[in-house]
Amino acid sequence: MPNPAKNWREIPQRYRLEAGTCKNCGHVSFPPRLVCPRCGGREFAPHTLAGAGELVTYTVIRVAPGSFEDQAPYAVGIAALEDGVKLTAQVVDCDFSALKVGMRVRLEFRRVSEEGPAGVINYGYKFVPV
């Protein structure tokens, strides 16, 4: 069983969508970083991700890894949020046939996976059609 620190140290991102805006060039990094990948800047202002955006791509996973086997098939996508950040998450509450590039989605807090009988339950964000 993994040390739970692996889960709780990501809580600011997974529960509260905390990102960082580079004070030099304005690029938003999610998760936050120590070095801006665009300009090399080292100073950041706290930023909360925009809660909505649109899908730029998607798929339906039919063959899933271990801790997701009981969820398959499930949809996953990348959405471009309104603040320009692109984010990966599951797309839920949506017929697979309705998935398309450009579809409007918003972020919701959901259960993501369970690490087996003795492990923790992982929570995080998922995309829900608007």
């Binding site: 998760p31 791509t57 798929t59 039919r62 271990g66 996953v76 990348i78 995080g124």
Partner: protein, 384 residues
């Protein structure tokens, strides 16, 4: 820098090799390469392997393999760059010989993938993606490439049929390669009717789980000239990185690391893409080959699908891609793939490729990438 040649190549039959362990398949290929080179000493070894830790529970791999090859105390290093580990081993071996640090270097690649369940193998391969922000959400490698496929289809109108044509072409080539895991033909219809893995990719769009190894021996060109074999030089090497997380890329339908690595390798070789007679590229999924042909400049941006449709990349086409059968038909033991690409190109440039021989082949290019293109390596080979 000294000029470097490949003086020996070795590869055994790939597949689900239940009766053989990782160390055995590595040593078999290494011995073939040393025998082919006709040298009785090596100064150093470099081994590409993605994840012996997760696949067979073994790290400290380089020393283990040097021991089982009967070569201790030669220095040995294991390098890792996900599915590009083999290509990286080749580059490190090249640098070692070119720099003068070593004269004769054995470069190997190996992966033993069938000692774990399919589920565990999917997990092990998934560690090449961003575990915290992709794997966490249930993404798999087919899933990531499926999202690249959807982006490419949306942006350029690439079709399902064009992707299926890549698989059919590579199986056609692979049917002429006795060492391939799947040396048989597959029809376009069979690909289109096969079971979905991650929409729109189906099982016959995906490279398989494979046990396999490959090895080459590198030496200064002067050493190669003294041997009685055609001299095949490595005239260009290029390597580049990109974000591991697909979502962080500006363009999901473009492989920037392959573009950068290709540009550097060709510039070093003093060649243009049109000078190359054959290509071995990283078709881990059919869409990957389409995108790689665009990033290397074999096809124009957005026209990689049309290139396969028009027969440009077929064995008899103007730019044959994956005459060996590629990862799709030959198999994809991840750490071995980059080295096996070099083995195929040397065979082709020596005129030893049998039924799949590209006529009058003098120059070849290999492209190997890790993950969704978070790393890429390109090498250019030339026969004297």
């Amino acid at each position: 820098m000294r000029d470097v040649a490949v003086i020996g190549i070795g590869m055994t039959k790939w597949g689900e090799l239940w009766e053989k362990s990782l160390r055995t398949i590595f040593v078999e290929s290494a011995l073939l390469a040393l025998e082919d080179a006709g040298v009785d000493r090596i100064d150093s070894m470099v081994v590409g392997c993605m994840s012996s830790g997760l696949f067979v529970g073994q790290e400290h791999l380089a020393s283990l393999l040097a021991d089982y090859l009967g070569r201790t105390p030669v220095p040995a290093a294991r390098v890792e760059s996900a599915c590009a580990s083999g290509g990286l081993a080749l580059r490190q071996g090249f640098i070692e010989v070119a720099s003068g640090a070593s004269d004769i270097v054995l470069v190997g690649g190996v992966e033993k993938m069938t000692d774990v369940t399919g589920c565990e193998a999917t997990y092990a391969l998934g560690t090449a993606a961003d575990q915290e922000y992709e794997g966490f959400h249930g993404l798999t490698f087919p899933g990531l490439y499926a999202m690249m496929a959807v982006a490419h289809m949306h942006k350029y109108g690439t079709t399902r049929r064009q992707m299926a044509l890549v698989a059919a072409k590579n199986h056609e080539n692979g049917s002429k390669n006795p060492l391939a895991q799947f040396p048989f033909k597959v029809s376009v219809e069979a690909v289109l009717d096969s079971v979905l893995v991650a929409d729109p990719l189906r099982i016959l769009d995906c490279s398989p789980i494979t046990d396999g190894a490959a090895a080459v021996v590198l030496a200064p060109v002067e050493t190669a000239k003294a041997l009685k074999k055609p001299v095949v030089r490595i005239v260009g090497t290029g390597q580049a990185t990109d974000t591991i997380a697909l979502s962080a890329r500006r363009d999901l339908a473009w492989l920037e690391s392959t573009y950068q690595a290709g540009r550097k390798a060709l510039a070093m070789a003093g060649r243009a893409i049109g000078d190359i007679d054959l290509f071995e590229v990283h078709d881990c999924f059919t869409i990957a080959e389409i995108m790689v042909t665009e990033a290397l400049g074999i096809a124009e941006k957005g026209k990689g699908g049309r290139a396969v449709e028009d027969g440009l990349t077929a064995l008899g086409g103007k730019a044959p891609v994956n005459p060996s059968g590629g990862l799709k038909a030959k198999g994809h033991p991840v750490g071995a793939t980059g080295v096996a690409q070099a083995v195929e190109i040397v065979k082709q440039l020596r005129g030893e490729a049998g039924a799949r021989q590209v006529k009058n082949a003098r120059r070849g290019l290999s492209q190997n990438m890790g993950g969704t293109g978070g790393s890429a390596l390109v090498h250019v080979f030339e026969a004297d």
